[in-house]
Amino acid sequence: MKFNFVFALFFVFSGFFASQNAQAYPNFISHGYGSCMSCHYNPFGNGPLTDYGRAVGATAIANRVGWPKKMKDDEIGEKSGFLFGEFPVSWLRPSIDYRGLYLDRSMGKAANEDEIIHMDLNGTLVAKFMDRDKLIVVGQIAYSPLPRGVPEELKLDEYRSREHYVGYRFSKEIGLYAGLMDKVFGLRVPDHIAFSRTITGLGQNDQTHGILMHYMAQTFEVGVQPFMGNFVQDSKLRQKGLTTMGEYAVSEKIRVGGSLLFSTSEYLSQNMFSAHTRMGLGLGNSIMAEAGQVNRTVEATSAETSSRYLFTQTHFEMTRGLFALLTYEILQANVDSDAKTYRIGPGLQIFPTQRVEWRADLYHTINSPESGPSNRSFDMAVQLHLWL
């Protein structure tokens, strides 16, 4: 009761502020969900949730603020479908998803600036057929603002489709997916400013057309994805190549994995590799880590650059729906240089009730070697994620 009251207060209070981003996450291994496929249509996560995933989110991850005390969790789970009920067409699953960010950069400095970014508003429709939904068709339309500074002459769209694909599972173990999807690589964390997402070019808009082959055994899971780039881009720009990721389950709540990606375009060739682990430590608590290297060659000049990164994040579940986070990252943008960037940040992730997620992170960034007055900075990111 007390917790519900605290949640309700926080929810109302934080509503005066606003918004960025986060979904069913790799750290949910701490709840026993080692494979993303338990809850997502895409076997490597992100994108629309299955009915089961929605119910898990409503009954095991989120708190129950706003629901009558007498209502059992099972009954709340039954209300987790689109618009709080069972969709009348049994083979269709629509969903609407919004993510917003309030970003306050260089706090306390002359360069301080803050902004609200409506990162994503999307509508997704999943059509599923055959026994155990063997065949799925997923389509999405999304609004996504352009970053500041993008010249108008590029005539880029603010509307996009981040995923549209057809998937077929030949068996529980083997699945084949074709269309526009995220690239399989490393930990698919929702921290879009994480070095493991930015330096690898695996941001929220970096999906590619391709074919994803997924194999899942009792203790092993692997994805192989040849890709051709995003067809809406000029063909010269498209990165074409192959990426693969494998994970081995050391135990129910400990997984280790590795990823490898090769791709090339008219302008840039790149290869990258990484190793990662996800560990659940009791119910709701977890540690995730990913370390990797990205090698790039500019085709016009043959200039080569290698970058390395480390991403670690711990989650501690204080009570149902309330997580304390600690993120620690290192980036060495050029391995030939001593310069490194360290980022450490505590955070809170809150699911007060189903369909709502708040997250607040305070990042302390340190550039080393320290040579000037601005080599340390504090940034704050507050995210709001809503879905129907």
Partner: protein
Amino acid sequence: MRKRNKLGILCSLMFLMSVTLYSCGQDYNSNSGDSNLGQDTSKIDCTTESGARFCAALTILQAECSSCHTHSIWGSYVTEAQWTKKLVKPGDADTSSLITKLKNVGGNMPQDAGALSDDDFQTLRTWINEMPTMNVRAKR
């Protein structure tokens, strides 16, 4: 049952096709500015005094700024006129946003890297301060 499935599949494929058509047009991705990587700078005359200042500044800008500012196509800026469009005020480094945004003077750029070295910082300042205002305007 089979009829329903066929109809469903047909509708889904039509939906998928419409989504694909709807998403036609250039999207912004991390690699949207890749075509600006490694721009040809061989046509810049670095033998004159002002040309040498620009070449020195451009080397720093390409190394420290352009790799991240791909979305704002800085990598394609190989003339002074392109830099003076918004980022540089000829003859006035102190109020040029290219300078005021730098960590060296309390800004937050370059992001995820340290402040520029003093030498590089002074090279940029000198380039801007020595830039002949009239000539740049005339070139635009």
